[in-house]
């Protein structure tokens, strides 16, 4: 066998794609003493599953609290079978768990996908790059005729989530060690960000979340503000929201037209 063929078999055995009693086992591997070859392979197989599910446990502590250990292990192993790790950082293994839960929802708890999305975002911003915070005066200093074409460069440690349930309330209950509410359906949005080394999240009005998402996409300030157009006082609300974004250090830089 070539090195590649040997590793293909080993990989199949470790990940469970091949059975431990595969007839190739004894031809390729060698044990000694009282431990059979399939038991030796089983050590690697057990560690593979345990290590990756443990990585998920660290990333999704409140999902673990909700599901309890056994059910979380079942979920983690099902997820692992569908989405083997594709990144050298094991901490990134859970990046598709929220989407997996959306595709395979627990009918009684469809809000778990949103909880996973929130926990993943909290994990992601923890490791995001540092950035400067733009001063609010930067915006005020723009000439009025060009302000609409300016663009906001948002902090790399900011995420905006669109949710189908109130995952923030569920997260808060679980974080506090309290029993969870039944699912609270309804579209909602949340911002997740880091200040120093501390991670925060808060709910956002849907129009503000849409404006923030536009800013994250690099849209012009005019387009960002257009998401407030249907509000009772669009200008005041847009200004109020923008002031909040600067105050929370979500804006790293203001790029004037032509810059």
């Amino acid at each position: 066998m070539t090195l590649g063929e040997t590793q293909a078999l080993f990989h199949e055995l470790v990940t469970g794609e091949a059975d431990p009693d595969d007839e190739r086992l004894e031809r390729v591997f060698r044990g000694s003493g009282e431990l059979a070859t399939y038991e030796r392979i089983g050590i690697y197989r057990g560690m593979y599953r345990a290590r990756l599910v443990d990585a998920l446990r660290e990333t999704f502590p409140n999902l673990v609290r909700f599901l309890r250990d056994d059910h979380f292990t079942d979920l983690g192993e099902a997820y692992l079978r569908r989405h083997p790790s594709e990144h050298h950082d094991i901490g990134r293994f859970g990046r598709r768990l929220a989407a997996f839960l959306l595709r395979h929802p627990d009918p009684a708890r469809p809000d778990l996908a949103d909880l996973a999305a929130l926990e993943w975002a909290r994990n992601e911003v923890f490791f995001a790059a540092e950035s400067a915070a733009a001063a609010p005066e930067t915006l005020a200093a723009l000439p009025p005729e060009s302000a609409g074409a300016a663009r906001l460069e948002m902090a790399p440690s900011l995420r905006v989530l669109s949710l189908a349930h109130d995952a923030l309330a569920l997260w808060r209950r679980l974080e506090g060690g309290e029993p969870p509410f039944p699912p609270i359906p309804g579209p909602s949005a949340a911002a997740v960000w880091r200040r120093g080394f501390e991670v925060f999240h808060c709910s956002l009005p849907l129009h503000e979340a849409a404006g923030l998402k536009a800013a994250l996409r690099g849209a012009s300030l005019a387009e960002v503000c257009s998401h407030f157009a249907n509000r009772p006082d669009p200008s005041a609300e847009a200004h109020g929201a923008l002031a909040g974004w600067f105050a929370e250090h979500w804006v790293a830089r203001v790029r004037a037209p032509g810059c």
Binding site: M1, T2, L3, G4, T6, Q7, A8, F10, H11, V14, T15, R27, V28, F29, R30, G31, S32, G33, E34, L35, T37, E39, R40, I41, I43, Y44, M47, Y48, R51, L52, A55, P84, S85, E86, H87, H88, D89, I90, G91, F126, F127, A128, A129, E130, P156, S157, R194, F197
Partner: protein, 282 residues
Amino acid sequence: MALRRLELGHGIGLRTKHFARFEAEASPVEWVEAVAENFMAEGGRPIALLEKVRRDTPVAIHGVSLSIGGSDPLSDVYLRDLRRLVSRIEPALVTDHLCWGTYRRKYVHDLLPLPYTEESLAHVAGRVSAVQDLLGRQILLENPSTYVAFQESTLTEWEFLAELSQRADCGILLDVNNVYVSAHNLGFDPLAYLDGIPPDRVGQFHLAGHSNKGRYLLDSHDGPVAPPVWNLYREALRRFGRVPTLVEWDERIPPLEAVVAESRLAAAVEADELAPALREAS
């Protein structure tokens, strides 16, 4: 080119559980080892802490995902992140494992053993050279703990490592606990292993705890160094002399003081073992 052995003394692994202590205080040990993948993110607390620690204390960057023995091409993304980390930290040592851990770009996050053949040797030596060229420095490869061997192996692990270190001009991170665990699990003589390692290639020792699972030993890093591993460490010191030594503790991690105490115990064992040689030299 020979391996220049550094005088780092005794260190411990930098683990999340102890971050707050390292943030607030000076390093309690002579050097620390950081698992590369845990510090590759562009921002956040881990890399900020590592930069702080690095200002006063030598750091070794210890990778677990290079997959130097893998049949997949080396990952450009991994090498980019590793190179960025190495440039940022300027570590005293860059190390990884003699193993593989990816197949068709899927990571198993384990240190899987290789068949020790001429094919593997040529494959790994070429990849080590490529990595060293990219980083512009030598790397050290660590012997893995193993639970299974291969029918087609024609070399022992120590023969493989010795030859690899010459061909690729790399160093050896000799994990004394791994030698002991693999020797027990695969039925070879750990002293023969030590005898087969070229002393001038050994640039670092690892010590760690293991668990006795009845019919095999598990390299669990979840407790103090076991007595027979201390004995093997003494044997290693006799053969290789004073080598930068690091205590790893990754599961059921105790308070910082306990890990530091284990590192100081290693320093005491080293002093005790090397004292006659030092007296003779002076």
